[in-house]
């Protein structure tokens, strides 16, 4: 029986159809994935179901009855809960207070904190969701915060829980835990909708999948009857190369070493974030850095881009030591930087696209003479980059924040690759971008490699590392604990190495 049925839903923002005649139904007790690229209308559809926005046409039935969901409160009363991508939690309050917010248990006219704690402990027991109700939100990790949101939905007696991109913020381990929780909830009779664009996760956890493309319904499939390639094609609307393909190969050992880090040590808050790290990247090589986030990747990136200064050790560019590295010096030495977080480091969101395309290179003669900007050249250059990199923009004078995530990333990448760098530091180059853009960015990086550039690729996506890298170095505790050809690694072995089970291997000298 269909628990929720959305028929012929349309929603327009101005002249843009976020949803156009979408049909979507969920059966009771299933895990249903809602798949689509960024901007395909997944979130809009779910916001409609959760009452956060109203459809322009179409009908919704819940439990066989036609309903009007005017606001989230209506949705909650119908047993629908939603876990947003950006958690809606009050950081200084406790877990318990956050969960019961709006539906507080009372003792007389006062808030019954102990009662709330008890209820939450009961819920947590029942569904196997471990949590400390007395902990403050600001003190718990992201995975736990998500758990708080899920318990909040359960506390409000939700039968259907919608999760918006739940794995975007989680580490690989936390993802597995989350999936365990979701399967548990399913067994307890709850219905789950996951909004996602990650194919692997769908295959792993969901029973059925509905695909949206450009606001339109494509199809609904049983997960068992499909495969990632088919899903990718349905989502993008054309053939895409699968990530399983590998573009790595042998590196010419006689090629010059473009970038070298020697024995780098860096401390932050008395913790050694880099602990004697060394690596080399040759011309025509992609070296992939693999590791669990927080093992020194950020500091490695910031070292080779001149943002931080090492306590010990050195950085060499084309064999020469860089004395007193600064971001400007590294840029001028031909080290291009694709920052790991485009919002905080990569782009200035209120600046026009044009200014963002030259940031870091604006002092070059091409763009300025004696401190005066060459506006005509800037216009031409930005326009050219927009065309070369297929960036979808209204105009180059629009603020860069008006672009979609994928197009913003293309600006970052276009900027880094257009000034003929020798060395490219590509940190999370495809984070938060849709499949079409991922494919494009990968092609660009491979093209750069073929031109003889040295590329240091830092990525949290093991698939990406395996597909692109010639060599892989595993980082753990601020050191490279294993290094070798990409073909020598598989996911299992990398998983062991990056969680610190590889030390023995290194000491025994197998690599």
């Amino acid at each position: 029986m269909n628990f929720v049925e959305m028929r012929d839903i349309s929603k327009y923002y101005g002249n843009v159809a976020a949803n156009s005649h979408v049909n979507f139904s969920v059966q009771k007790g299933e895990i249903h994935s809602l798949l689509g690229e960024n901007g395909a209308g997944k979130t809009t559809l779910m916001k409609i179901l959760y009452g956060m926005t109203q459809p322009d046409s179409g009908t919704i039935s819940v439990g066989g009855k036609k309903v009007r969901i005017r606001n989230p409160k209506d949705a909650i009363n119908l047993g629908i809960g939603m876990v947003h991508q950006h958690f809606m939690l009050a950081a200084p309050l406790t877990v318990a207070e956050n969960i019961v917010l709006g539906y507080e248990p009372k003792k007389g006219m006062f808030f019954d904190f102990e009662g709330a704690v008890k209820e939450i402990e009961a819920l947590s027991e029942q569904y196997g969701l471990k949590i400390d109700p007395r902990a403050k939100i600001q003190d718990i990790p992201v995975g736990q915060k998500q758990r708080v949101e899920i318990i909040k939905a359960l506390y409000r007696k939700s039968d259907l829980i919608i999760l918006d991109e739940p794995t975007a913020v989680l580490t690989a381990l936390e993802v597995q835990e989350l999936f365990g929780v979701l399967k548990g909830l399913k067994e307890a009779g709850k219905t789950i909708i996951i909004i996602t664009h990650k194919l692997k996760e769908i295959m792993q956890v969901s029973d059925r999948v509905t695909i949206l493309r450009s606001g339109e319904f494509v199809c609904t499939k049983n997960t068992a009857d499909t495969n990632p390639n088919e899903l990718a094609e349905l989502m993008v609307g054309r053939k895409v190369h699968a990530m399983e393909e590998s573009f790595g190969g042998d590196v010419d050992e006689s090629a010059p070493v473009f970038l070298e880090v020697k024995d780098a040590v860096y401390k932050e808050h008395k913790v050694k974030k880099l602990n004697g790290l060394s690596l080399k990247v040759r011309s025509g090589e992609i070296l992939g850095i693999c590791g669990v986030e927080g093992n020194g990747q950020t500091q490695l990136i910031e070292t080779v881009t001149g943002i931080i200064k090492l306590r010990h050790g050195k950085v060499l560019v084309r064999g020469e030591e860089v004395k007193d590295p600064t971001p400007l010096r590294m840029l001028n030495l031909g080290v291009a930087h694709i920052p790991e977080d485009r919002a905080s480091r990569g782009l200035i969101k209120d600046f026009p696209i044009r200014e963002n395309t030259i940031l870091g290179y604006h002092r070059r003669r091409q763009f300025s003479r004696r401190g005066v900007l060459n506006i005509r050249e800037m216009n031409r250059y930005a326009q050219e980059m927009v065309e070369n990199f297929g960036i979808k923009v209204g105009s180059i004078y629009d603020p860069v924040s008006s672009l979609s995530g994928g197009n913003q990333q293309k600006v970052v990448i276009g900027r880094a690759l257009s000034q003929n760098p020798d060395i490219i530091i590509a940190a999370q180059p495809t984070r938060g971008v849709d499949i079409g853009a991922i494919e494009y960015i990968h092609e660009k990086l491979i093209e750069m490699k073929k031109q003889g550039k040295a590329i240091l690729l830092i990525s949290a996506e093991i698939d990406e590392l395996m597909a692109l890298s010639d060599n892989i170095a595993v980082i753990f505790g601020g050191q490279i604990v294993a290094q070798g050809k990409a073909s020598e690694f598989d996911e299992r072995r990398l998983g062991m190495l990056m969680t610190g089970y590889g030390k023995e291997e290194k000491e025994h000298g197998s690599h």
Binding site: P327, L331, P339, I348, D350, F351, S368, G371, V372
Partner: protein
Amino acid sequence: MEAIKKCGVYLRQKIKQLFTSKSFIVSAISLLLALIVSGIILAFSGYNPFTAYVNMFGGAFGDMSRVADTLGIATPLILCGTAVAIAMRGGAINIGAEGQLYVGAMAAALTGIFCQGLPAILHIPLCILAAAVAGGLWAGLAGYLKIKLKVNEVVLTIMLNYIAIYLTDYIVTYGVKAEGMVVKTPNVAESAILPALYPHSRLTIGFILAVIIVFVVRWMMKKTVFGLELQAIGNNLAAAETGGVNIGKQFLVTMFISGALAGLAGAVEVMGVHKYFIKGFSPGYGYDGLSIAVLGQNSPVGVLVSAILYGALRSGAQVMDRMTKIPSDFVGLMQALIIIFVATPGIIMAMRNFARRGKKNHD
């Protein structure tokens, strides 16, 4: 200590919010709303708002001498407003324009008094330069402490205001006081006096200087590497750093320029209006600079327009005070209302949406 620090950070955020992301419409409507609400308050206080406004307008623009006065009062306001705006664009919050103005004024006065025998064509630029450097260094001090010791510049510049005002007080009282009861310096040399553009008014070539500066700043923001880097820092510090901008140096230069402009405002007052430094000469031009920058949304031309408006309010109020029974302090109320409305764009956006919806229903 921790509490003070937190307070500083909070202040910084709030001030930044106040200054950013407004549209021209918000400013214009705020102005209109302030006029209406002030009018209602006047009516309730038993005055006729229409005669008040007519008098005020006449006082500001009634004849050439009134216009000259308006622009004369606007001159230091333009400079202080630009000073605040440029700092704001560069991510620095300069609440210290008032102090920088006093320091600049004193520097101009001393240069004007003690460098005798120069021709005006040298003496005037010299005094102006002295004022700019003094104001710049005063603000630069705050910038330096911010970079080196991470002291919040909001708190710093506020504190430096008091130091500047009392320091110049001290200098004028115990150092270079002129004969007589009034606490002021002797007159500056004839060669250091800014030529008036309209006889017996406050309007001097200082106004032209201020307008030129506005357009130079505008050009600098739009067309130079310096302006690009300044605004990069103001918008996203980490991205500016990644883009190779020398954050510390740029921040220091931003503060220096901001202070220099406020210092110039002091010079214009001393060399054009008073001809000497007098204790407490500023009716808060530096602080008005803050609200002018808010109203002008940190755009140089916006500041120019807002400053002339403030000048008109002030000079109009003087006339209104004489012609009606309404005290000129009433202008303070109007200015406060303008800022309240600009600071709460929510009110205006809600009104706009309401109006739009109304229109839609009629379609």
